[in-house]
């Protein structure tokens, strides 16, 4: 780093150059790349292979199953200004969240206090400093060369336990940040390449399973140090000046490639999506008074692909933040956008911050996607992010379809979790999220069905993991882990098949579970499918306390192996329980003990295309695997044993559709009365009112579509108050795009 400029001045200069020229660091030409492309490629390959191989080594140092077995981590190299140069494989969410963390330190003048010195270690899981949520813990070190800060290396791991109120790593029921666990708020936690003792003691005293976090920290630090050492060799080989200039060119090249890919594979225009995750908490005993309510977070999402090949997301019209852990801030939204970009558009080798320069998000201040209350919880921001960005995948699918790249189309999947808390089979306090959800089934693709048991939106390398690992991790044994017959989203290509796990508590006298899902629970729908594909039929979870499980085992009886089987055995009295729940509401079980049961369904993503266009061969394959019953194959797909019979059944389905349907205008005329009176349930009515409170957009669209003068939804069901935005420090913010009503003077601008 030049002696004349400090880090903040370098960052300001970099941003000003981009603003002025539209090129990263003002690079109108890629001189090193053009001069010797092979040498340039060798340089990039050296960086990337170093980072990826270091990540593999880190697994052997880490402690938690999240890293060792389920790949929930990433490591990368950053410029002095905090821009991503190259990333390993893994949770790509954090390409830009690490960047925001580094910029947070620069903009809050960490250079002067607490100072940035060789050997320092900084850590963060704070959404105000660019993080997503408390379990995603970032570790960052500066790299110096002859006294100059020349790079940052950062790594993120997802911790299964983060000190939350309930126990698992992500809080489901906390009304604010004060229940979402241990915050490390962009802090210096180590010096001289070692974590400070006071920091390690803090982990020990504030976590239930501090060994996981501590050893994962050491794995991340080791990874950072290995890359730091490797950089010395790379700089020696290529030269320091080449390193500095080539890393900048890599980012500018990333930006150009991104724009080129958009222009080659997509179509400019405006795409629309709407998500409505339903949250219910009024049924939970002893909820915090601030959080004892049922509501929908309506998220309106417009994606614009501009003439220039840039992608912009605008969330105007969405409901506001509230007292729950599903809020998003700029950090989480950047994370969500990045997993989309890296998996769908930027996946061929050059994952860096170049793409960030060609995208923009407009996050209305105070909305669910940009909570501006200092105490807002983001512990389960993913319950908002997953439906939002899965829907962005869907919108991108429309674009690839229009351009003819149907092999690129993929729909994502809701995430469903079982969290466990209490005391484990070793007598220790425990809390963890069972990350087998990382093997969830995809949504449908443009050329095939969704993968049965694939990976979730948030980790393209996610894996379900071995059941035995989870049995060692917590006080529970698997009774079954299996696909669910007839549980998939139908379509010409179907969503991946749902699967479910059922556990029995083993070795503990005190344990409870939180069971929940993203957008698909509480009677909601994750989001719509594509071109006539349906959503999945719903989500289910289960717990049973005070069971006769041990007696069933003692008499060598058949034990349940799935939620539906347990439900049937409860109905016919073979399985007995003092109390139980089975259904779609997210749940916090009572205290369970040895012999009690719990289970969760992991339903796959949405379907693609009209189900009656599904090939008979695909249906027969599903029948042979037991993924569909003959009865449902007939109902959903018009399938019969012969081709001619199937054709006849499908003709009848089409005739029935025409008979049962009405012209849309006719429906509009009859439905208009209902729309005028706002004749909907309380939760929906309050949702529309909450959206209109923050923005006129939904209200205007509603009045225009239904040709009404008066908006019928006024009662939000929420306390009328204003919260204050944090002051006294820099934090990442989003550009704002004031809403302009169609037809108004400003609309033509």
């Amino acid at each position: 780093m030049s002696k004349q400029l400090n880090l903040l001045e370098h960052l300001d200069r970099s941003e000003a150059l981009f603003e002025k020229t539209g090129h990263y660091q003002g690079l109108k030409k890629l001189a090193l790349h053009d001069q010797d492309p092979l040498h340039f490629e060798a340089f990039h390959s050296r960086l990337l292979s170093t980072i990826i191989s270091v990540r593999e080594t880190m697994k052997y140092i880490a402690s938690s199953p999240a890293i060792r077995d389920f790949e929930e981590f990433v490591i990368g190299l950053y410029t002095p200004e905090g821009d991503a140069i190259a990333l390993s494989t893994g949770i790509m969410v954090h390409v830009h969240t690490l960047s925001e963390f580094i910029k947070f330190m620069i903009r809050n003048d960490y250079e002067n206090d607490p100072k940035i010195k060789p050997g320092d270690i900084f850590e963060n899981n704070e959404s105000w400093a660019g993080g997503v949520h408390t379990p995603d813990v970032m570790t960052v070190i500066p790299v110096f060369h002859k006294g100059e800060l020349i790079a940052w290396i950062g790594s993120v791991a997802h911790e299964l336990e983060a000190g939350t109120y309930e126990g698992p790593g992500m809080s489901v029921f906390s009304p604010n940040r004060y229940g979402e666990g241990l915050h490390i708020s962009a802090e210096k936690v180590g010096e001289n390449d070692n974590f400070r003792k006071d920091y390690l003691l803090r982990l020990k005293m504030n976590l239930r399973n501090s060994n996981w976090w501590t050893l994962d920290d050491k794995a991340k630090l080791s990874g950072c140090l290995m890359i730091r050492e490797a950089l010395k060799g790379i700089i020696k080989q290529f030269g320091f000046e080449y390193y500095k200039d080539a890393t900048k060119e890599l980012i500018e090249e990333g930006r150009r490639n991104f724009v080129k890919r958009v222009k080659t594979t997509m179509v400019p225009g405006t795409y629309r999506g709407m998500q409505m995750p339903v949250h219910k908490r009024s049924h939970i005993p002893a909820m915090h008074p601030l959080a004892q309510n049922d509501f929908i977070d309506l998220v309106q999402n417009e994606m614009t692909i501009t003439r220039e090949g840039h992608i912009e997301l605008d969330f105007e019209g969405s409901t506001g933040w509230s007292f729950h852990p599903f809020n998003c801030a700029v950090g989480p939204m950047n994370g969500g956008f990045w997993i989309t970009l890296t998996q769908l558009l930027n996946y061929d080798g050059r994952v860096n911050d170049g793409a960030y320069l060609a995208v923009k998000q407009y996050l209305p201040e105070g909305s669910i996607v940009n909570a501006n209350y200092g105490g807002a919880a983001t512990s389960l921001a993913w319950w908002t992010l997953i439906p939002i960005f899965a829907n962005v995948w869907r919108m991108m699918g429309i674009s690839w379809f229009a351009r003819g790249f149907i092999e690129e189309i993929i729909l994502s999947t809701p995430t469903c979790i079982a969290g466990v808390s209490g005391f484990d089979q070793y007598g220790n306090e425990t809390g963890y999220t069972n990350f087998e959800m990382a093997g969830e089934s995809f949504g449908a693709r443009g050329v095939d069905d969704g993968l049965d048991c694939g990976s979730p939106i948030w980790n393209s390398e996610g894996i379900q993991g071995d059941a035995e690992v989870w049995e060692m991790t917590g006080p529970n044994v698997y009774l079954g882990r299996s696909f669910v017959t007839d549980h998939h989203a139908t379509g010409k290509f179907r969503g991946g098949a749902a699967w479910e796990s059922l556990w029995v508590v083993k070795g503990s006298r005190l344990v409870n579970v939180t069971l929940t899902a993203s957008g698909a629970h509480n009677g909601g729908v994750f989001h719509k499918g594509l071109f006539g594909g349906y959503p999945a039929p719903g989500w289910k979870c289960f717990w049973a306390r005070g069971t006769n499980f041990e007696q069933i085992v003692a008499r060598d009886g058949k034990v349940p192996s799935s939620i539906n089987e347990a439900e049937q055995m409860l109905e016919n009295g073979i399985l007995k329980a003092e109390e139980h729940y089975v259904g779609p509401l997210n749940t916090w079980s009572p205290n369970l003990e040895e012999g009690d049961l719990f289970g969760v369904n992991y339903n796959g993503g949405q379907g693609y295309g009209d189900p009656i266009e599904r090939s008979r061969a695909r249906i027969e394959k599903d029948l042979s695997k037991g993924l569909i019953s003959a009865q449902h194959a007939k109902k959903a797909y018009g399938y019969t044993k012969t081709e001619a019979g199937t054709d006849r059944a499908r003709t009848k389905i089409k005739e029935r559709r025409l008979k049962e349907s009405v012209p849309a205008q006719q429906w509009w005329r009859s439905e208009r009365k209902r729309a005028a009176n706002g004749d909907v349930g309380q939760v929906v009515s309050e949702t529309f009112a909450r959206s209109a409170k923050l923005s006129e957009k939904l209200k205007d669209e509603y009045l225009e579509f239904w040709n009404l003068k008066k908006y019928p939804y006024t009662e939000t069901g929420a306390a009328d108050f204003q919260a204050t935005t944090p002051t006294g420090f820099y934090f990442p913010q989003s550009p704002q795009k004031p809403y302009v009503k169609k037809g108004s003077k400003g609309a033509s601008k």
Partner: protein, 169 residues
């Protein structure tokens, strides 16, 4: 517009008819994205429909923007001409609204169905000519009907494809 190579056309026809074997499909996924894909796709899809109006842009498996005597309109695969390309085509379709549990049970297996119709209703948009399903919306009751995609045809044709837009907008 250049004339597509025969073998390229065959591959894309196989892709769009879902007849490509996995190795060929995988190759297509991994290959650099070809700049003439749009033209190849249009050439194939034009053969797959029974009408002659030139396709300007596919909007879905069974829905297209076409050039109808110099004007851009939205037309279904079966040939129903719904509206001008800028209008809300869904409001020109037939529709089935599933807003009761009994309606939902007609398309979902009852034992797995947990969607709450007081919170979400399904709107099935149906081609008035063929009965094919064009789209399925999942929205809260009374939510306005919106279309998912409004293309910028002018920018697409003139700036990206570098050719004259064959219709007057």
């Amino acid at each position: 517009m250049t004339t597509p190579e025969k073998d390229e056309l065959e591959v894309i026809e196989g892709l769009l008819r879902h007849e490509l074997a996995w190795p060929a499909l995988f190759k297509l996924m991994r290959d650099p994205k070809s700049e003439n894909r749009f033209d190849l796709m249009i050439a194939v899809v034009q053969k797959m429909v029974t009408w002659d109006d030139p396709i300007l842009l596919p909007l879905g498996e069974n829905l297209f923007i076409v050039n109808k005597k110099g004007k851009a309109i939205i037309k279904t695969r079966a040939g129903a001409e719904l509206c001008a390309w800028t209008e809300n085509w869904k409001m020109k379709c037939r529709v089935i609204i599933r807003k009761k549990l009994s309606d939902l049970k007609k398309v979902f297996p009852a034992e797995h169905l947990t969607i709450d119709p007081t919170l979400v209703e399904l709107r099935e948009w149906i081609c008035p000519k063929s009965g094919m399903l064009l789209d399925v919306d999942c929205v809260p009751p009374t939510y306005p009907v919106e279309i998912d995609f409004s293309p910028d045809l002018k920018a697409f044709y003139e700036d990206w494809l570098k050719r004259k837009l064959p219709v007057k907008l």
